[in-house]
């Protein structure tokens, strides 16, 4: 299990591994927004939590199709499915590796990019906390979507169409927690809902994803 995690992390940081791609995409989206809506500070501050959450979500989406497609192409997925580690565990480890290389860097970068969008100082901690609680759900749901589309050639677009609707609850509660935090309101309810979504996704979806992979390998 640990070997698989280390391999995935090593692959992500090698040439062509895609590490940093999501982060650069997040940066560009965030920089583009002030150009689009104008540099007025009040407007930007109001939309900043939502923009940062949508940006993080789209950046996360970028790297999803790599999770299983590359292993499928070079035959590793067949070999992992016949290896002495359970396929549910493989899925869980791969989702965790995706979060470590995508969700965690996005979470750490978000406050810096918040400066660009004039996010109020009171909101930085809440934005980081909401992303920290919410991005694991994005990775696990995305891994499930990648498992569903693993047998398809050029399945990236279908993957986006499948996964984006499933991201809606996470987005709603994540952005709401960050917005309330920035405005100095109580954040307990959306944060608890967000944590609940993440806990539920982590508990259920690895098993569903492993079942989907078994069907797709036939």
């Amino acid at each position: 299990m640990l070997a698989l995690l280390l391999r995935d992390l090593r692959l992500a940081t090698r040439a062509g591994g895609g590490f940093g791609l999501s982060l650069a995409f997040f940066l560009i989206v965030t920089v583009l927004v002030p150009f689009g809506v104008g540099p007025e500070g009040g407007t930007l501050a109001r939309i900043a939590p939502g923009i940062l959450w949508v940006g993080a979500l789209l950046a996360c989406l970028l790297s999803l199709d790599r999770i299983f497609a590359l292993d499928r192409e070079d035959g590793s997925l067949d070999l992992l499915a016949t290896a002495p580690i359970p396929l549910d565990g493989v899925v869980a480890v791969k989702a965790f590796a995706h979060w470590l290389t995508t969700g965690l860097p996005l979470t750490l970068a978000a406050p810096v990019l918040g400066v660009l969008l004039n996010l109020p100082a009171s909101g930085f901690a809440w934005l980081t906390l909401s992303l920290l609680l919410g991005t694991p759900a994005l990775s696990v749901i995305g891994t499930f979507g990648a498992a569903l589309t693993v047998g398809l050639k050029r399945g990236g677009l279908l993957l986006s169409l499948l996964v984006l609707p499933l991201y809606i609850p996470t987005l709603i509660f994540g952005a709401e927690a960050a917005r309330r935090g920035a405005e100095g309101l109580a954040t307990a309810t959306p944060l608890l809902m967000l944590a609940g979504i993440t806990a539920g996704a982590v508990a259920i979806l690895p098993f569903a994803a492993a079942a989907a992979i078994r069907v797709n390998l036939r």
């Binding site: 070997a3 391999r7 070079d74 035959g75 290896a83």
Partner: protein, 212 residues
């Protein structure tokens, strides 16, 4: 008996292709599957490996399962030979990869990224993976593709050592490995008689009937 297959029927894409296949494999034995393209050698191997369910029949495998090597080698282009092999060794709970590197004459390439290997060298690395699994039953699908005569000799020697150590091998191959002791099973007589008679066929009939 290491592997027992009883009245196995396998399907590819919902269509039955092999029916009532039965054979047994003891420790120290090798069985070579023969038959024309499309007869179902790969499908049979994948079914025995547990990658797809059989349509009918029964398989008795050793509890620790089998090591499967398919058409693709499962190599990561940006990892070195040692890293690739070390990964699979750790997945199977082994730690020593030096004997496997030596058996496939990969020592001089140990630090080279897999993307800089030739097709034959990649294949040798893929086969070296079998040696680090520690599994007693090998399922090999066209193991000698893109190997030269010397490498085929290396591979045959590795299989022979595996058999001598109490292992067994089930392989689909077209070329002569020089394994004279291996038994040969021709799959042609087991071809499913009516290809549409699988579950898919029955479903399609019912589906069409609903709209008739």
């Amino acid at each position: 008996m290491m592997l027992g297959v009883h009245d196995l029927a396998v399907t590819r894409g919902g269509i039955a292709i092999l029916d009532r296949v039965s054979f047994g494999l003891d420790a120290g034995e090798a069985l070579i599957l023969r038959g024309p393209n499309g007869i179902g050698k790969t499908t049979l191997l994948r079914t025995v490996a547990g990658l797809q369910p059989p349509r009918a029949g029964r398989m008795d495998l050793p509890p620790e399962g089998a090591a499967y090597a398919g058409h693709a080698d499962g190599l990561k282009a940006t990892l070195s030979v040692t890293e690739n092999l070390g990964f699979w060794a750790r997945i199977y709970g082994q730690s020593d990869i030096a004997p496997a590197l030596a058996a496939m004459e990969l020592e001089t390439l140990a630090d080279r990224p897999a993307q800089n290997l030739s097709a034959g060298q990649k294949r040798r690395l893929g086969l070296a993976r079998l040696l680090v699994t520690g599994r007693r039953l090998w399922l090999l699908d066209e193991p000698t593709v893109s190997l030269d005569a010397a490498s085929v000799g290396l591979f045959a020697a590795a299989v022979r050592r595996h058999l001598a150590a109490g292992g067994a091998a089930l392989m689909a191959t077209h070329i002569d490995l020089g394994l004279d002791e291996a038994r040969i099973l021709d799959l042609t007589p087991y071809r499913a008689t009516s290809p549409g008679s699988g579950q898919g066929g029955a479903f399609d009939d019912a589906f069409d009937g609903a709209f008739a």
